[in-house]
């Protein structure tokens, strides 16, 4: 049971390296962006894991109720805004990929390198 307390962090580590693997090993630019978003989600998971308090509930205060335990609101605020910023920056990346496709006729890394080598 004790070890299950670390399970979230292990999943964070595995998701992080799956994203990293995609960015390094895959040649397709859209696949690389998908890898980046997995990497990003892994970081979100780590932050949200830290916000949990045993026996706690979402930090919404009920008037009159006493002895409530709340989870930490701060990591939630940081990640909430990060998700929205994440989709906007992904869109910028995709826009660049679309322009690369129009210029080079391909979104595969090796073909783009070859096109750059031939004058």
């Amino acid at each position: 049971m004790e070890l299950l307390g670390y399970y979230n962090y292990w999943v964070f580590a595995i998701l992080l390296v799956i994203g990293l693997y995609t960015v390094i090993a895959k040649g397709n630019l859209i696949k690389k962006l998908l890898g980046l978003s997995i990497f990003q989600s892994a970081v979100f998971l780590m932050y949200i894991t830290m916000n949990k308090v045993e026996g706690g509930t979402a930090p919404i205060i009920l008037k009159g109720a006493t002895d409530q335990i709340f989870s930490n609101p701060l990591p939630q605020v940081l990640i909430l805004t990060a998700i929205v910023v994440g989709v906007s920056t992904t869109a910028v990346g995709l826009a660049i990929v679309v322009r690369i496709k129009e210029t080079y006729g391909s979104i595969e890394e090796h073909q783009i390198f070859e096109a750059d080598q031939t004058p």
Binding site: L4, G27, I48, P73, I79, T89, E108
Partner: protein, 326 residues
């Protein structure tokens, strides 16, 4: 009991991530990303982060998928290149994973109330929100009042990203000519999506408005509401076609929304200075500082919602109205 459910969901998350990496069909990979986001949202909910779960479900599973799909229609659906230096990469990332896992044993256990993260400002926020602001949702209070500068910065990042996408995609080969391609007709000739979709659109907008205005009392707020309303308009665009959607909501209006929301947020800060307070110190907006805080939060949440909705829709239309090469 809940911990077994959490372990199950987290394991599914890893399986989905591996499937995304392994599949060569990018269409499949993007649809799996949508599932990945939904599982992630369920995990966030189990970990008591209701606001974050709502955001992830609306943005990760909804808007991101549509933007990826519209980019796929402009590029290619299949991955063609071979994986390079596969075993070397697997070696490097395995070592990274092992180092990260070794480091986790120094972290506090999940849910430990004595963890350092719970000792610093978080108890102060929980104690003082009822006194200083008097709204139930502490996340909204921290987001829009205690850390208002941070949120202002994020809104401007969303706005800047929207401008960046428009710069990249409105130049070059030009906007698509206004012809009746199958894409511009949407799903008009498919009966079931049309009927069901038309029924859904007003309710999605209504739910978005509820999330916007109920954000002080329950999970929700400007970021989530903006994304939900944007998905309603995206659904409308998919059903009725690009041209009908742009006739209902012209590009200039969408860009105007993105500008107006960010301006509204900034102007609240300036008004606070003019009334003798600090930048984004809402207490001076009313003779009673608590009510002043509440007024400030409602106005800046509206600004956030308008900007997020306008920016996401502008990005969506920038992709869909571009002419594909093939």
């Amino acid at each position: 009991m809940i911990i077994f459910f959490a372990v199950f969901l987290l394991t599914l998350l890893v399986i989905t991530a591996i499937a995304i990496v392994r599949t060569e069909n990018l269409f499949v990979a993007v649809m799996l990303t949508s599932i990945f986001s939904l599982l992630m949202a369920a995990n966030f909910f189990i970990l008591d982060a209701a606001d974050v779960a709502l955001t992830e479900a609306a943005i990760g599973a909804g808007v991101t998928t549509v933007i990826f799909l519209s980019a796929l229609s402009l590029t290619a659906e299949r991955e063609r290149s071979q994986t390079t230096a596969k075993w070397l990469t697997i070696g490097v990332v395995s070592v990274t994973a092992l180092v990260l896992m070794y480091a986790t044993f120094d972290k506090p256990l999940l849910g430990d109330p004595n963890a350092p993260v719970h000792q610093h400002v978080a108890p102060w926020y929980l104690e003082n929100t009822p006194i200083l602001i008097d709204i139930p949702n502490v996340v909204t209070a921290v987001l829009s009042s205690f850390r208002g500068y941070d949120t202002l910065g994020e809104v401007f990042v969303v706005f800047a990203a929207c401008i960046g996408v428009l710069f990249l995609l409105s130049a070059g080969n030009g906007i698509k000519a206004e012809d009746e391609t199958p894409k511009s007709q949407g799903l008009r000739h498919h009966l079931i999506p049309k009927v069901v979709g038309r029924l859904l659109v007003p309710f999605i907008v209504l739910f978005g408005l509820y999330v916007q205005f109920h954000g002080e009392y329950g999970p929700g707020g400007g970021f989530q509401a903006g994304a939900i309303i944007a998905t309603a308009f995206i659904l409308h665009a998919l059903l009725e076609g690009e041209r009908a959607a742009l006739a209902a909501m012209p590009r200039a209006a969408l860009l105007g929304m993105a500008v107006a929301g960010a301006m509204l947020y900034g102007m609240v800060g300036v008004v606070c200075i003019a009334l003798g307070g600090n930048f984004l110190d809402y207490s001076v907006l009313h003779s009673n500082p608590v009510i002043g805080q509440q007024i400030g939060i409602i106005v800046i949440e509206a600004g956030v919602g308008i900007t997020v909705c306008g920016a996401l829709l502008s990005i969506f239309h920038a992709f869909t109205s571009r002419r594909g090469l093939n």
